[in-house]
Homo-oligomer: 199 residues x 2
DNA sequence: AGATAATAATGAACACCGTTCACGAAATAA
DNA sequence: TTATTTCGTGAACGGTGTTCATTATTATCT
């Protein structure tokens, strides 16, 4: 045998991530149980802890996949040959669409919490850049006066504002925006923000 | 003895809420354990379930208190004899301050989730009105064209946008706004929103 | 190829959690 | 006081994530 060792290890990891992803998509983060995942993946309970440090690290890898898909969706939504306001509006609507169509996996990105005092690894933190990557260019057109660092910070704020509206609409049981009004409200928010930012 | 029955019952409830509130403030929602709370409250483990349906309902009462304090803080922050933009700015900064000074209890308002399929009681849902109560008046000045219902909805959106920025800044381990920049970014967001909403 | 060493998978056991429930204590009613 | 209803008690239950001695598998060496 050649590198069977490594291959089997990677295969087990993949099966576990697949199973966890399916379980989260079906039943949410709270519905994810170590025994279910390992049963679905066709391995023993203890095998999970030979492949990953713990269940939280496995969830991290599921979130990693979701971020990649979300990043691709946002990237694909950027219209060509349009002004910054149109780009921002399109990005916001793409974000809404992704959250609606991948609700539980998207929610897992923001509701999952590591145990207190434990930080996510750098490679995973870096993956979150896709959330603001496409906002920076149109924002720079609206605010050419801002230096790169302030621009990056403002992009985070713009994302967080849109995200907040989507999050409260989809997960809160109070002050909730009805789903059918969500695209319209997000559009109004982005419109107001871009107009206010314009000059 | 007169109404000792009712009195003792209410006293037990209060002690449990006090203990849970202190535990959440000290260790967050995840650090809240039934055994700790009942030990702090000076009662047996099972007593919790004579006073409340379950641990989630106890948390609900803690959140109820937090909402009342937050509502009072927002109310007190409304400046008199100022324009709508100044009112919105003041409310946003008051929200930031409350979140910073009551971080874990504030976070519990939005991270606590009831079991799937179980809804919070109406009396508790109604308490969340304080989050948008003070936004409606200044917003109505900025947008006198909007009918009351749309105004209420837009107020939810404005709140959610500000809340999203604060939430990601304080709880996310990625795309995080540094805390010292949070007031400035929120101010910029509200400024942009109110300018964009103005006409 | 066969023997040996290193490694990984197994699943029963562990520690801890929220919740329940038979029992005894206490407060009300008779 | 006595009877009755109500409530607090804490051991026990079911379910959780995680560990660990044991077994099975793979790689290494002669």
């Amino acid at each position: 045998m050649r590198n069977n060792r490594e291959e089997q290890r990677e295969d087990l990891k993949k099966r576990l991530i697949d199973a966890a992803e399916a379980r989260i998509a079906a039943g949410g983060l709270n519905g994810l149980k170590a025994r279910d995942v390992t049963a679905d993946a066709g391995c023993a309970l203890g095998a999970l802890y030979t492949a990953f440090e713990d269940l939280d690290r496995l969830i991290l890898h599921v979130n990693s996949r979701t971020l990649a898909r979300l990043g691709a969706a946002l990237q694909a939504a950027v219209p060509v040959g349009q002004g910054p306001k149109e780009v921002m509006a399109a990005l916001a609507q793409a974000y809404v669409s992704f959250a609606l169509q991948n609700f539980r996996l998207w929610a897992a990105l923001f509701t999952h919490r590591l145990p207190e005092g434990i930080e996510a690894p750098d490679w995973h933190r870096a993956e979150h850049a896709v959330l603001i990557a496409n906002i920076i260019a149109p924002l720079a057109e609206l605010r050419p006066d801002l230096p790169p660092q302030a621009l990056q910070q403002r992009a985070r704020t713009v994302f967080a504002a849109v995200h907040g509206v989507v999050m409260l609409a989809l997960t809160a049981r109070f002050v909730a925006t009805p789903r059918d009004q969500l695209p319209g409200e997000v559009a109004a928010l982005v419109e107001a923000m871009t107009r206010g930012l314009a000059d």
